[in-house]
Subunit: 434 residues, 2 copies
């Protein structure tokens, strides 16, 4: 009795709900999202809704701009693109009202989401949560146009693709700070959560119930498209719990928090990324400054390098004539620029040869549990070896081990690692018991 | 020589150019409008451009709202509809830039077009011309989203249909006041000016070169759709010269100013309006307060009454039993509500009967010259009589005479008045000489 009483007296947390383009894809879906927001409010939560543009709308607007000029001004592109979310926010407010709720839409400008002036990829500086807070305290559902802000001079800015996730987390953080209480940020998407691996590759992939920010960051950077990296970074920085869940069901999704999975789970997920190419500089002179020159030149060309592996020279280190091999990976889309740099720098550092390989995939295991469990990497190598998969390069971080293998092994590698670390089996048992 | 020198030293006036939905109907048309703005700037003018939404866009947006809810909130309708002009303003700025010009778009909010909070039909209170002025002084073409503003609380408002004309004139007025110099407001539309009458009805109709605000107001209220009444009222109030011209040609259109046509022109145009219905209360008791009661009740039902004609009673005025007939016209669309009111009030004022007639047209002649020329109305009645057209009711103002006639006479009445007042003949002569 007393426990129940205490529950009923507890103030329910404010919930920020972000609906992406798919959730805003049609009038019916907008109404369904509105119904969900309203149901959440009727459960006793204060609700702030963040919306993306209706699916396809941002592309339509940017195509209009490109039809007018091949390279439109970024300031005007932002003024144009921001209308997509403004339309969504008004329609969402209308949908909530039509279901008997009270709602009010806010643009980035009205909400005073202050950003820098880097049009098309602006960064949020400050958010004034006051306006939406007085709206929700007043019993309304505040509906905020995602993806957009305004700079010091009042110019409309956008946060770049996927920016609505960032808007949602940033607004949740601002509200959390303004109210001095925990706020939950729900991200509604067309998948029902974060999976242990790509279900298209591995049918036994299971939904992860809880995952830490760090793991989510690694998975996102490895190509899991559920959440934008920037939004996860921001959630981690401000300690905003993020609940990734499906627009099309009421089942819980994946909770991204500071804590992550239960003790004992060593590997949380298996990811793969076919978007990288391997570059190998053979027989580079092993002397100070050589590696710095190679990667300095690549950085000046704005090429992001992912894995870097430098083998020890076969001769003794420091010998004048000793040589080493330097291998690194870059995005396949950057390969043309990389060739330009390497053609020049390769001879400067007296490399004996250069090899490019696009026929590779990066397969990774991610898990906070690795920190305290020895032998995880060794187990990964063993699993791959047992399948006859040759590992071309290895890179590790505190919570991740990545291996480059030939593209043809993608599915085999992912499935064997997923099974080998018992990710799928656990899933079936847990769900069977629930 | 000295005259030419003086001209070249004169600072060219700032020009506000407003492009309507048709002028913004496609990428090609937007580019063509941009080229015109740029050519105007290259002629030495500072240029401010006001844009409407692309044709069809406002309807598309409002339909979206209606698909979500039968009666959407007007605040949200405005937030939604305002995006149409925001898109146009960004595309126009991009188009000007693509042609080598410099341009910057402004929303109503950025431009600080302060309105009241009457969503969907807001009225402009103040405009801060500072932002566009610093833009044009900087060599840019300032592109302002028409039709929209912002209220004291930062809510987005719209000015109602045709509001972009009002935006243009109001912005021209604000700039005129800010610069303390005359500004010209050019309204680009799909017709090439204001005509002496509807060219579809009367092939000899000619374009009017100059017309006064008062005449334009009468013509607009009589159904000439070229300019919105509110924008003409505002132009008159602030003395803004308005040049109505075609998006598709560089020929001069019609100049709407304080002066109007040359001396000697008595009638400027002939208009007709098929949108009214006639209501006749027969045998109303002729005593004080009766008419006040009828029209008071209509006003409470929000019915606008146009013409009101009360004949003298056939018996001596003031007799207890004397009766009179009261005739008035209302919009046909209001007729259902009028019947409701009259059914009640008719018996209260002891009318002997009520007659409704929808088969009527109001034909009007308009001209500032009437003020100083006697016999204009008489000439109108004579022209109609000569054609065998029976006049059912007459109403006059200082610069207008309107007659109700049967609908079947519309074309005959318009053409005979147009010819009778020599509007077409003059046109051909003037154009022949030009």
């Amino acid at each position: 009795m007393s426990a129940r009483k205490r529950v009923s007296l507890t103030v329910q947390p404010l919930i920020v709900q972000k609906f992406g383009g798919t959730s805003m894809g049609s009038i019916e879906r907008i109404k369904s999202a509105a119904a969900r927001a309203l149901a959440t409010q009727r459960d006793g939560h204060r609700v702030v809704v963040i919306v993306s543009a209706m699916s396809g709308e941002t592309n339509r607007l940017l195509q209009l701009a490109k039809d007018v000029a091949p390279i439109p001004s970024t300031r005007e592109m932002d003024a144009l693109a921001a209308t997509g979310e403004q339309v969504s926010s008004a329609l969402m407010a209308i949908a909530i009202q039509s279901l008997g709720g009270r709602a009010r839409s806010f643009t980035g400008q009205q909400m005073k989401i202050l950003t820098d002036s880097a049009f098309t990829k602006a960064r949020i500086k400050t958010i004034d949560a006051g306006r939406v807070l007085s709206s929700v305290e007043d019993g309304e559902i505040a509906v905020v146009a995602g993806f957009q802000g305004v700079d010091d001079e009042g110019n409309i800015t956008t946060l770049g693709r996927g920016g609505s996730d960032t808007s949602a987390v940033a607004i949740a953080a601002a509200i959390q700070s303004g109210l001095n209480e925990k706020v939950v940020c729900e991200i509604y998407t067309d998948v029902d959560g974060v999976y242990t691996t790509d279900p298209n590759v591995c049918p036994t992939a299971k939904k992860i119930e809880r995952i830490s920010y760090e793991e989510m960051l690694e998975l996102a950077s490895l190509g899991a498209k559920v959440l934008q990296i920037r939004s996860v970074e921001m959630a981690m920085k401000y300690g905003v719990p993020v609940h990734v869940r499906s627009s099309f069901s009421s089942a819980p999704g994946t909770m991204v928090t500071g804590e992550g999975a239960l003790e004992g789970v060593v590997v949380t997920g298996v990811a793969y990324d076919k978007g990288e190419a391997r570059v190998m500089l053979v027989g580079v002179l092993d002397k100070p400054g050589v590696v710095a020159q190679i990667f300095g030149d690549l950085a000046r060309e704005n090429v992001s390098v992912d894995m870097i592996i430098q083998n020890l020279p076969s001769a003794g280190a420091g010998d004048a004539a000793s040589r080493t091999d330097v291998t690194f990976t870059v995005a396949k889309t950057d390969l043309a620029r990389v060739r330009g740099v390497i053609d020049t720098v390769g001879s400067n550092v007296s490399a004996l040869g250069v090899r490019y390989d696009e026929d590779i995939v990066k397969v990774s295991i991610v898990g906070l549990g690795m920190r305290s469990h020895a032998g995880v990497a060794a187990k990964m190598f063993r699993i791959l070896a047992d399948e006859g998969i040759n590992i071309q390069a290895i890179s590790t971080s505190e919570i991740k081990v990545s291996c480059l293998v030939a593209t043809k092994y993608t599915e085999l590698a992912v499935r064997s690692l997923h099974d080998g670390f018992a990710l799928g089996a656990e899933a079936r048992e847990e769900h069977g018991g629930a």
